[in-house]
């Protein structure tokens, strides 16, 4: 592969196209394949040669691909991205002309993946030179991917086996990756709706489904829909192949906070297995109602939590921590009429700054409103009066 001539290469592609060999053709157009390092293929102007051997629009597509290999060899990802755009555009023209056949799906997967990767690399190169708006190239790449998605989603004529709809989940996943990176999560919604209403949604490959549920789960987290997030992320974690430790760890980073909000604390064993001991102190603090330790733990690993985008959700754990702390006060005093002062003392012991009775009332009122405490505050008696039955319902039962 690393030494074939340009003619041999073009002949192979031509044959693959004529024989509808989607997978093999995809390899010949993918940057994961060794042919991209072959200097004989890195021509500055391959158009003529391509036109001699290939039919349009494949000639343009392959010519652009070869120009891309040239650019990549020079580490010019901005150029590479521009040419990859042409590859995808030409491909799409061909793809649209394939009526009731989907053999080219693998090619689509390969070229769209490379498009996204080059967009990433190009942006990084531009940033280093202080040029270009962050997210600009990724947004353009996303528009291209959406065009491909529309072609797939609107394939209503072909039978199930030949349908282009099988490409929808892969493209959704690519688009999710971009939307999460450029922080435009609202753009995920139409994709999720399209997949949800598709009759193929449970039949995509396990790997695609895991990736899909991972991103949709993260979106649910962002929308504060924690029950849905837990379902989706748990599925992704359970079905993610055990050899993909890195991916399992990534899923866990988002699954853990959601589970903790629902009252399920991870074991230390699990945290050690996946190298997520940053969560260890957080877990301990929340279950003990130890606000001091929680604040310390959040502060200590702030950079990690912020980078993963879970810092804000972990802050929500404070409410659960208050609930656990106050429950301790209740268990200690063994009465159903608890003086507000006792809670104030507990908070001050946890070194919460500037807290007074007014704020204690506010915190308790909030917990009552959220269903974490069953009872009411009596201002006249300065007491929290709790229900005699189950005053602190289990966290998992509170939405």
């Amino acid at each position: 592969m690393a030494h074939i001539t340009i003619n041999q290469y073009l002949q192979q592609i031509n044959e693959a196209i004529e024989n509808h060999e989607g997978s093999f053709c995809a390899e010949l157009l993918s940057f994961k394949h060794p042919h991209v390092a072959n200097p004989r293929l890195q021509l500055a102007s391959p158009e003529e040669k391509c036109q001699q051997i290939l039919e349009p629009p494949y000639d343009e597509m392959v010519a652009a691909h070869l120009r891309c290999t040239y650019a990549v060899a020079n580490h010019d990802f901005v150029e590479a991205y521009k040419f990859q755009t042409l590859v995808v555009q030409s491909f799409l023209r061909a793809f649209q002309s394939h009526k009731e056949e989907n053999w080219a799906l693998h090619i689509m997967f390969a070229v769209t993946l490379d498009l996204r990767i080059f967009a990433n690399n190009a942006e990084q190169q531009l940033q280093k030179k202080g040029k270009g708006q962050p997210g600009e190239m990724l947004e353009k790449a996303a528009e291209q991917l959406m065009s491909c998605f529309r072609v797939c989603a609107s394939d209503n004529r072909a039978g199930v086996d030949d349908s282009k709809k099988w490409g929808m989940m892969f493209l959704s996943n690519q688009l999710f990756k971009i939307y999460f990176k450029i922080n435009k999560l609202h753009l995920c919604k139409p994709l999720i709706r399209a997949i949800d209403s598709s009759n193929l949604k449970n039949d995509y490959s396990p790997a695609q489904k895991v990736t899909y549920k991972y991103y949709v789960g993260r979106k649910a987290m962002f929308d504060s829909d924690f029950k849905t997030a837990e379902e989706l992320l748990s599925y992704a974690f359970d079905h993610c192949h055990r050899s993909c430790q890195k991916n399992k760890r990534m899923i866990l980073i988002y699954l853990l906070p959601v589970k903790m909000l629902l009252g399920h604390m991870p074991t230390h064993l699990l945290l050690r297995k996946y190298d997520l001991t940053q969560f260890a102190d957080v877990t301990k603090a929340v279950s003990e109602g130890n606000l001091l330790l929680l604040n310390e733990a959040l502060s200590k690993h702030e950079t990690f939590f912020i980078r993963c985008g879970i810092f804000l959700i972990l802050e929500k754990l404070k409410i659960i921590t208050y609930r656990n702390l106050f429950k301790k006060v209740y268990l200690l005093l063994k009465t159903h009429q608890l003086p507000l002062d006792a809670f104030l003392v507990a908070l001050r012991m946890m070194q919460v700054e500037d807290v007074d009775i007014d704020e204690v009332q506010c915190l308790l009122a909030n917990l009552i409103y959220m269903g974490h405490i069953k009872g009411y505050i009596s201002h006249q008696h300065q007491k929290l009066v709790v229900s005699k039955q189950n005053p602190f319902p289990p966290l998992s039962s509170v939405s």
Binding site: Q125, K129, D354, A365, Y376, H379, Q380
Partner: protein, 397 residues
């Protein structure tokens, strides 16, 4: 197979690093001339000197309003009363005052050459224009209602923005203009709160304010600096967009040095209190804000006070509840009569002894239009005392 992925993942290597691989000298030269050509054609960016000026539109207008436009609008009687020679307002065709006329915003259209140098104002003229608008229009006493002042300044600032975009202005000049523009829009969002929709639409103000903020933050991020006002604006942005995960995440990702500044720290603490559903703490912290920060926050006060009444309706819900109105007023940063009015709007009962009788079944959303944010502006307006609008917007308060 994975040997070749290095071609893709070497992000650490800059494109100017010597590239390996067997290529002929001819190919190398072709590559270099190709990339050079691309750089010249590339739009935007800094530090390209000669090549850049060849493609970016040049500005040469030295006045706030291009001469041609002034003549045209004067002859078509389309001058604003702020732009005419004083004393000629009542004439059938008032005369335009070149010292007061300001280029107006015009929608880009096919066939219209927006890049004519004589129509594009130079960067220092743009800043001068903005300062004029603030000093003479916004900050000066006028017989005209402030809604008119706002409309005029809004439009003229939009035209300044247009000129900035066309000539790809960036750096310190751009920041100085944007900072004042943002302050103006934040102040306006408070000052015109409650005006009828046909005169002032808060959503339009919001849309433009978000664009200006976004551009300003981009300048801070990609520019060389230093930007001494950055802490002020990061805090304003967070307060204005309280509750937005995107805005909060943006601030969390700022360098530690910025996050530790007093303004940003306070804004973050307020944000935390908001996200934790702790209105008592939020309102207490809000006392520490300065006037403009309070303007930025003010539209969230409604949500905050509503939440307070809601959770207290649940938390204190009992037949014998007698919560002192005065205390509630203090917690809500309102005078007692206003606090009583707010309770009534949400269906919360206040008895004749000035005690609030919270009940979770009583709380209800106010009827359409019954709740006027403007009535409850005390927490903001009291900070305005003694401040001149001019200095608020220039940032010298």
């Amino acid at each position: 197979m994975n040997r070749w992925t290095t071609a893709r993942i070497t992000q650490t290597q800059s494109s100017s690093a010597p590239s390996g691989g067997q290529r002929t000298q001819r190919n190398k030269e072709r590559c270099r001339s190709n990339t050079q050509k691309k750089e010249v054609e590339e739009e935007g960016g800094q530090g390209f000197g000669k090549e850049r000026k060849e493609t970016v539109p040049r500005a040469s207008c030295q006045t706030m309003c291009p001469a041609q436009e002034l003549r045209e609008r004067e002859s078509q009687n389309r001058l604003h009363h702020f732009e005419v020679v004083p004393g000629t307002e009542a004439f059938r065709k008032p005369s335009g005052d070149p010292l007061r006329a300001v280029k107006e915003y015009s929608r880009p259209a096919a066939g219209k050459d927006a890049a004519k140098p004589s129509d594009l104002r130079l960067p220092d003229v743009l800043l001068r224009t903005v300062c004029y608008l603030i000093d003479e229009i916004v900050g000066s006493p006028s017989p005209h209602p402030w809604t008119e002042v706002y409309s005029f300044v809004f439009d003229r600032l939009r035209s300044v923005k247009q000129d900035m975009i066309i000539q790809r202005l960036s750096g310190k000049d751009c920041v100085a203009i944007l900072e004042r523009t943002v302050r103006f829009h934040i102040y306006a969002s408070y000052r015109l709160c409650g005006e009828p929709l046909r005169i002032y639409d808060p959503r339009i103000n919001d849309t433009h304010l978000q664009e200006y903020l976004s551009w300003l933050f981009d300048c801070y991020k990609t520019g060389a600096g230093p930007y001494p006002n950055q802490e002020e604006f990061q805090a304003l942005g967070l307060l204005y967009n309280l509750g937005s995960s995107a805005a909060t995440q943006h601030v969390l990702e700022l360098p530690v040095r910025l996050r530790q500044t007093p303004s940003v720290k306070l804004a973050l603490a307020i944000s935390q209190a908001f996200l934790a559903g702790n209105p008592v703490r939020l309102l207490r912290l809000a006392q520490k804000l300065d006037f403009l920060q309070a303007c930025a926050l003010h539209r969230h006060l409604v949500t905050c006070r509503r939440h307070l009444l809601l959770i207290y309706s649940h938390g204190f819900s009992s037949r014998n509840c007698r919560f002192p109105l005065d205390r509630l007023a203090r917690l809500s940063s309102l005078e007692a009569p206003l606090a009583a009015g707010l309770c009534r709007a949400y269906g919360v009962e206040v008895n004749q002894h000035n005690q609030v009788v919270f009940s979770k079944s009583a709380f209800a959303e106010p009827a359409q239009g019954r709740l006027e944010c403007k009535l409850y502006h005390g927490i903001v307006s009291e900070k305005e005392r003694g401040l001149a609008v001019k200095s608020i917007i220039h940032g010298c308060s």
